[in-house]
Every structure is written in structure tokens, then in C-alpha cells.
Symmetry: C2
DNA sequence: GCCATTACTTACATTTTTGTATGTACCATA
DNA sequence: TATGGTACATACAAAAATGTAAGTAATGGC
């Protein structure tokens, strides 16, 4: 997403692919950190700082950008509390929640693919990266998400 | 994918996210044209030229690049026939086929999302872009794929 | 010999995405 | 008065993805 320059073939193709429901969906979830954010929010509302802490390696700028796009795309809602220091909470929308099961399927597929092509299992243990412990809806996920 | 420079934070993060099965999966299917290629192949083996014709707006270079990555990732196989002019056929692998149902779900979700946020229905009709008629496995798809 | 066909390759340019570094507002507390 | 915490914004730089234009190899048909 970000800036859109009306003329280039590149941005034309992006728009063109928006017409297909499948590639449209990919555009909504395709950012580098978006699925991780989404999975973090499956356990419920989270503050900006909580997300930042739990999503290893993401920078504040990237987190902000991805959250803003997800908000603009209707995947999450953003609630600002008039406090000092500021508090901002992010929550999955209904349509956002509907992505969870697809993510679960993708996660499973990814693990199967990894196992098949490399004969190896997920490299990360629970301790290497932040966990995802408090998650009733998709408790099978066992690595970063 | 493409070129990888070992040192940058950018490529480090790419590798880092490879450790998570979910973001790993996203990397495999995340190219701009990959899902379209995949859906085209659901109806069976296709030649390079057939894919090129059916996937509107893709250039030969992009088609080549995406196909090569998908082959390297084990999503498709590539068979070259020693003929002149050359003939090259692409076929989904088993693990590649396992993505189809996920794509179907994503497609459905995309349509629902589009309808919800904009109150509009898929912009493309069957005639605007190449169709996807000969597809037993996922016959619900109705736009580009 | 010349052209058409197919599936590419290569060099290059442009656009988009991602990351770095620094600054800001607000108010409570020390 | 100075400091700390939170959730950003901004200017800039680097890297990656995408697109353009041209060329290539092999061979059969004219």
C-alpha cells in the first residue's frame, strides 16, 4: 500500500490485481509483519507497546505502518485513550477474525512444506522468540505466532 | 526471494521470519503473480505460453521469475521437451496442490471483505480477463483465477 | 538464406518496501 | 526544572520487487 503513483505499470498492476478476490486478499495480508500482528491479536486487544515487545525484531516504524494499513483495510480497530502517557489499543474486527482459520491452515501447510522439502522441523522453539501462550482460538500454533 | 545479501537487516528479517511456519508459508506464495499461476495450474499441466496468455498483464520476465521461484520452492515441477520450437510444461506438485483449498478460502474471504467494506461485488466479469473454465478442483472461483 | 516460433536471458530503469535515526507531545513525578 | 514513559512522525537511506527493451538458440518451412 503506502504511496500510490497513478501512472506506473507497477501500480497499475497492483490495482488490476485488486479486482481478483484472491490477489485482493493477498494484498490485505501480504505485508511482512501483518500476519504476526494478526495472530497476536487473536488473544484479544493489545496495546502498541505489547505488540512491539512480542513481535521480535519489528521496529516502531514498521509496526505503526502495518497497523495503519490493517486499520485502513478494516482488519483491526484502533482505540486511543486520552491519557498521559498515551495508550492505544488494537483489536481484530470481525472480518479480521475470519482470517484466523486461514492462517491456521497456512501455518499447518507451511510446517508440512518445510518438513517435506527439507526433512526438518520448525527451527524456533518457544523460548527463542516471544510466545503466543494466551490464545484459545488457535492453540496449535507453536512458533512465533 | 531474488538476490539475497547476507548482511542487511532487511534480509536478516526475511530469514528470521522463515523460522515461523506461517510467515514461511507467506513467503512461498507471496509473489505478485504466484497465486494466479497456481490457480491456473489447478486444471492441470500448462505450457509457458499458455500461462502467459491466460494471466493477463504478466510479462515474460515476471512469469519466468515467479515460475522459477515456485519450482525452487517445490510448488511446481518444470519439464522441458527437446523440441524446436521449445516446449516447457509446468505442473503442480502434491504440496502445491495442498495450497488450493487455502486459496479457495482466501478467495472467499476476499470477496466477503470486499463486499463488507465497500458494499461492492467483484469488479471483474468472466470476459474482462482470461477465464478459468476448465477447473474441476475449485470451481467456485469466478474472477481472474 | 531468411523468417517464424518458443521460452527464455540480460542489462537496465523504476517503483515499492523496509529499515535507521532522530524528534515530538503530553503530563506526572522526582 | 528536569526526567521518564508512550505512541507515534519525519527525513533519509538501503534493499528488494517489478517492469522495459532488446537479444538468443534451435530448427523447420518458404
Amino acid at each position: 500500500m503506502a504511496k500510490i503513483k497513478e501512472n506506473s505499470t507497477n501500480s497499475f498492476n497492483r490495482k488490476f490485481l485488486t479486482d481478483c478476490d484472491l490477489t485482493y486478499a493477498l494484498q490485505l495480508m501480504g505485508g511482512r509483519w501483518k500476519l504476526l500482528i494478526l495472530m497476536r491479536l487473536t488473544s484479544g486487544t493489545q496495546r502498541f507497546g505489547e505488540l512491539k515487545k512480542k513481535i521480535t525484531n519489528i521496529t516502531e516504524r514498521m509496526l505503526t505502518l502495518q497497523l495503519r494499513e490493517m486499520e485502513a483495510d478494516g482488519l483491526i480497530t484502533r482505540q486511543v485513550f486520552a491519557e498521559v502517557p498515551p495508550r492505544v489499543e488494537y483489536t481484530l474486527t470481525e472480518i479480521g477474525k475470519e482470517l484466523i482459520s486461514i492462517c491456521d491452515a497456512l501455518h499447518t501447510w507451511g510446517a508440512r512444506h518445510r518438513f517435506q522439502v527439507a526433512g526438518e522441523v520448525s527451527a524456533l522453539s518457544h523460548d527463542d522468540v516471544a510466545e503466543f501462550s494466551d490464545s484459545p482460538p488457535s492453540a496449535q500454533l507453536n512458533d512465533m505466532v
